[in-house]
Symmetry: C2
Subunit: 272 residues, 2 copies
Amino acid sequence: MGKEIALKELESTRWINLSQQNYINQVSIDCVIFGYQDRQLKVLIPKLSYKGDFWVLPSGFVLQDEDIDQAAERILRERTSIKGIYLEQFQVFGKANRNSKEFIKLLKELNAELIENTKLNTDVHPDYEWFTKRFISIGYYALVDINKVVPQKSLIDESIEWYNIHEIPPMVMDNNEILENALKALRNDIDEKLNVFNLLPEKFTIADVQEIYETIFERTYIRTNFQKKILEFNVLERLEKKFTGAANKAPYLYRFKDNALLKYSQSNLPQI
Amino acid sequence: MGKEIALKELESTRWINLSQQNYINQVSIDCVIFGYQDRQLKVLIPKLSYKGDFWVLPSGFVLQDEDIDQAAERILRERTSIKGIYLEQFQVFGKANRNSKEFIKLLKELNAELIENTKLNTDVHPDYEWFTKRFISIGYYALVDINKVVPQKSLIDESIEWYNIHEIPPMVMDNNEILENALKALRNDIDEKLNVFNLLPEKFTIADVQEIYETIFERTYIRTNFQKKILEFNVLERLEKKFTGAANKAPYLYRFKDNALLKYSQSNLPQI
DNA sequence: TCAAAAGTGTTCAGCGTACACCCATGG
DNA sequence: CCATGGGTGTACGCTGAACACTTTTGA
């Protein structure tokens, strides 16, 4: 691996980029990336390993000339290899004690080792001072088709994996709380924003949707009523039947109508 | 007015305090303060007058050792003279073009004049550089008993007044959009957070509540059903009757139960 | 023709809307 | 005792939960 390539890769990671002063200081973006598979709601979380394990939500900073939504999209793109991910800003975390001095200390050492190993000259040794300060973090949650994601770990990540929502490792700082609130926000948004379909491939059956609902809300639904509820949103387009090979009636496939949300926003409320 | 007092007053204003480096840079807090009076939903907005009129939502910055909720509370306290105001963080505004260079230019001149007039020495001439940059703003809305508020204008404010929600003046930057989204958030929260009572004095009648609902949602409610809906929240404590002097049955006064929200959060959902 | 799952139709209870009725109060 | 507005009770219609029934499919 040539020196140029190594530098390029380093530049592409959030930890190495710390010396950049073209970011907004003391503001970060934390992303909770939800995926669904095998009756499990999963979250994509990288792990750093250096003198112990550290799990940290995928995060990054906001460039001076970048909308915060764009920044979130960029961070998600870097981690999932997918463009145009569905995302929702849900809460800002701004406690005064939100800094990670202990954690950063380890990162410094780790980073120094990396730079040493890749034999870069000392010019790129980052200045961490702005990064050790207290941070305000904007929380986003994202919904992705888990099969389309190609998880990307940064140079200092040991791994990046999908964790079952019930088996989330202890993360640094308030990251576990951020995740919990993301889940609450998702549950709260789901029937209003009709965004659950972003967890599915383009074509899906109503049974697939029911599975996801049951997983997210941790309860069962009665099949026939659920079917009606979903179809009455009028946001699905019925396609051909799905061949399953099973000895029973083939279910229809559906697709989320592109213009569905426009129509749906026109609601008429009754009198109380 | 002595020099010391003038300086103290200057320090208490957000515009003069710009040179302070103990704030988090490029982050601000914008507050939409809702009040209610005479069948009108009102918003408290200061006006600056210098080479034209400028309306700006009450705003401020976050101290390094201050939670963002504390910062919002402080800003609201400074503007309303009330401690412990009810507030909700509702959205972050982070477009890349959120700076107010044109506006700040005028403020600079205005500030310079003020300092000249108050005969302060030149040491307090602020450094505006960090303030001309692009800002990320955290939006809060507040609900207050309008009768308890004593609006406080800063030195450079020409006035600070309650504006009917339908007669909001054009504000700088995206402040009008922030206000619109605050109203949407309020409408969305109202039945869930049961926060509407913060717009009323401690004791109120159900008719008072209905008036506010009708104003906020711009629709009418049927009296008897509305009464039931509100009482079935089980968050109100019935007090003595209210003496009106009118030739009809006296309505009961109610008070919001302090522990109401704790109980209310325990909901049991039916099967679909 | 049978089993299994999808899709549709049909009760029935409960809630919310609408309204009737009674109560309290001061002139 | 009447007008006015507050408080309570009740009929009715609609929604949605529960379930029966029909349809489809491959073995």
